[in-house]
């Protein structure tokens, strides 16, 4: 992508070998009770958001996740 153009949240498939990623995500939660799992998720979200850093992308991600809440 052209460096100067502002990046938008990527909602197309972006992970090589999605099944493997998904498996690892579940594995990380294995053996955790609900409480611990939720704590884990909170830490993970914070870590990923910090890695992204770009406030605009984070806002777009929050909005994208919110959309799914309202359509439930």
């Amino acid at each position: 992508m052209d460096k100067s153009s502002p990046m938008d949240l990527n909602l197309s498939p972006n992970i090589v070998d999605g099944d493997d990623f998904y498996d690892e995500l579940l594995l990380a939660h294995e053996g955790l009770n609900d409480e611990k799992s939720q704590d884990f998720n909170a830490r993970l979200i914070l870590i990923l958001c910090n890695h992204i850093g770009d406030r605009r992308i984070i806002s777009q991600a929050l909005a994208a996740a919110t959309e799914h809440v309202s359509s439930e």
Binding site: Q38, D39, A42, R43, I45, L46, I47, N50
Partner: protein, 542 residues
């Protein structure tokens, strides 16, 4: 009858009967201030020093007992310096720089407000509010002796306000019975429960936080360091959700426990109960006396408008914040700084009354910033849902190992002054860019030989050139503006360049009486400066 609502720490203005109480015609005053708390007294001092006649009515005869505010920020000390009583405060106060944050047993984060170069005042001092108020009143006495037209009437309780065309009628109660007064301008500095606001039926909306905090100010000589210690989920018995330990002068320590919403206030204030908590925190072997205890709840809210015709609101009467971040009294002093010069100029006929609307605009912006900051701190300290608590605790856990999480910890973002972006008073900014000081912001101090820049910004409009020649003075609008020039060759400090020039080679600053930057240019431009001032004073159409 005047109710005694609290005990006083220092009696400073005992009741005295005055002539006006026996007159049938109410006496007219240019400015009456209701409330002699820190903001009312600061306002009286600022106006009186400028030669504007001012009367303060307070319903007590001195400063209330019990500290409430303990943290006073650099900008407040800079304002106090301008008002003549900064050194007394700094002398008495405890200077601190280090803050530690604990989560349960573990220390998760340390911050150091390490001193920046070239600043006259530290980032913070801790000083009991009664001392802060006492120094203001003592300075008023000093100024009175030099002829400043300030009068304080103790045990004068405001009981009625009626706005008329161009003035306000006041009903006042005293130990000798009621009397009436009139004022061209009324400044309500009568605190969070503001009787003026209530009598006028004005709104005060915002958010109430359902939590109780227990304060215990204890006197002890135990060797705890001069640091701010804050605990999330403190490990000591029964200490609630959070706790604070902070040093004040006279070997007094502020201890604060967050107790939650459903508590029995009376039982919690029993000295034996308070001591149990304090013992658990300090350890059984530490000896101390309970100096003052109190339970407080808090709100974040502000009035919609701080000016209602001839009535102006300042301090807690206009806005209220949670104590996290020490933004209450500090921001009230910013109100003083902003309003006094404007009202003074309006009274002297140098400006149109529209200048007072900029007080409202600028300080509403300031209040919003303070409310935003203290609301966020409060949400971090007292999470309102299971999920927000989970995130909060995740931040605290991560912070012990991962640096990125540390800045997210919010145990109170400490008071800083507001930059009046987009204020109608702001003039051109030809330097826009790399200098630290911005148009609308207060000037940052710089050491100049054995003095300081802020000492030269003495409460008048001032023009400062850097690497540019400026005349000795400039007359605009009947006012004479002193001008001075600095050179980075003579003052080769990194601070002067970083704070005021950035990439530019030269600059001319137009500085307001409250030391905020009004406009800046690369060269001295008499016409531009004149226009900027005239526009602010309302003398030319915008």
């Amino acid at each position: 009858m005047v109710d005694v609502r609290y005990d006083t720490a220092f009696t400073l203005y005992p009741y005295e009967q005055v002539q006006a109480q026996c007159q049938s015609q109410p006496e007219r005053h240019p400015v009456v201030i209701i409330g002699g708390g820190p903001i009312g007294m600061g306002m009286a001092l600022d106006l009186g020093r400028k030669g504007t006649q001012v009367l303060v009515l307070d319903d007590h005869d001195g400063v209330g007992q019990g500290s409430r505010a303990i943290c006073f920020a650099r900008r407040t000390l800079d304002i106090a310096d301008r008002l003549g009583c900064g050194p007394q405060m700094l002398d008495k106060g405890v200077v601190w720089n280090v803050g530690r944050v604990f989560y349960g047993e573990s220390e998760v984060f340390t911050f150091n407000l390490s001193p920046e170069e070239g600043l006259r005042n530290p980032a913070f001092i801790n000083l009991q509010q009664p001392y802060f108020e006492k120094f203001l009143v003592e300075q008023i006495r000093t100024e009175q002796a030099k002829g400043a037209p300030i009068e304080i009437r103790g045990c004068n309780q405001l009981i009625g306000v009626t706005s008329h065309d161009g003035y306000v009628h006041l009903d006042v109660d005293t130990p000798d019975g009621p009397y009436s007064l009139e004022a061209d301008w009324l400044i309500a500095c009568d605190g969070a429960r503001s009787p003026v606001r209530n009598i006028m039926g004005l709104d005060f909306d915002g958010r109430v936080f359902e939590d109780n905090f227990l304060i215990a100010d204890v006197k002890m000589t135990a060797p705890f360091p001069t640091e701010r210690w804050f605990w999330f989920e403190p490990p000591f018995k029964n200490s609630g959700q959070s706790a604070l330990l902070h040093k004040q002068p006279d070997d007094i320590w502020r201890i604060d426990f967050q107790l939650g919403w459903d508590i029995d206030r009376k039982a919690e204030l029993e000295p034996s109960k308070v001591r149990e908590r304090v013992d658990a925190m300090l350890g059984d072997d530490v000896e101390y006396e309970l100096e003052w205890t109190s339970i407080y709840t808090f709100q974040c809210r502000r009035m919609d408008k701080f000016r209602h015709g001839p009535v102006l609101f300042a301090g807690d009467s206009a806005h209220q914040v949670s104590p996290f971040g020490a933004r209450g009294a500090n921001s009230g002093m910013h109100d003083v700084d902003n309003l006094a010069w404007k009202l003074d100029m309006v009274i002297k006929g140098q400006a149109q009354t529209s200048l007072l609307d900029t007080y409202s605009q600028e300080r509403e912006l300031g209040a919003d910033e303070n409310i935003r900051n203290s609301t966020r701190a409060t949400d971090f300290i007292t999470p309102k849902s299971t999920m927000s608590k989970r995130f909060r605790n995740a931040v605290l856990e991560l912070a012990q190992h991962a640096e990125f999480a540390r800045p997210l910890i919010n145990s109170g973002r400490l008071s800083t002054p507001c930059t009046y972006h987009d204020s109608p008073l702001n003039g051109p900014d030809e330097l826009a860019g790399s200098a630290q000081v911005q148009v609308g912001a207060p000037c940052i101090d710089v050491q100049l030989g054995d003095s300081y820049l802020l000492n030269r910004l003495d409460g008048r409009f001032i023009i400062m050139g850097i690497n540019v020649d400026v005349p000795d003075s400039l007359t605009v609008n009947g006012m004479t503006l002193p001008c001075f020039s600095l050179s980075t060759l003579e003052q080769p400090t990194i601070e002067l360049t970083a704070r005021y020039l950035g990439d530019a080679n030269s600059a001319v600053y137009l500085i307001r009486p409250d030391q905020h930057v009004m406009g800046r240019w690369k060269q001295f431009d008499e016409q531009q400066i004149t226009l900027t001032i005239e526009k602010a004073m309302g003398q030319v159409a915008h």
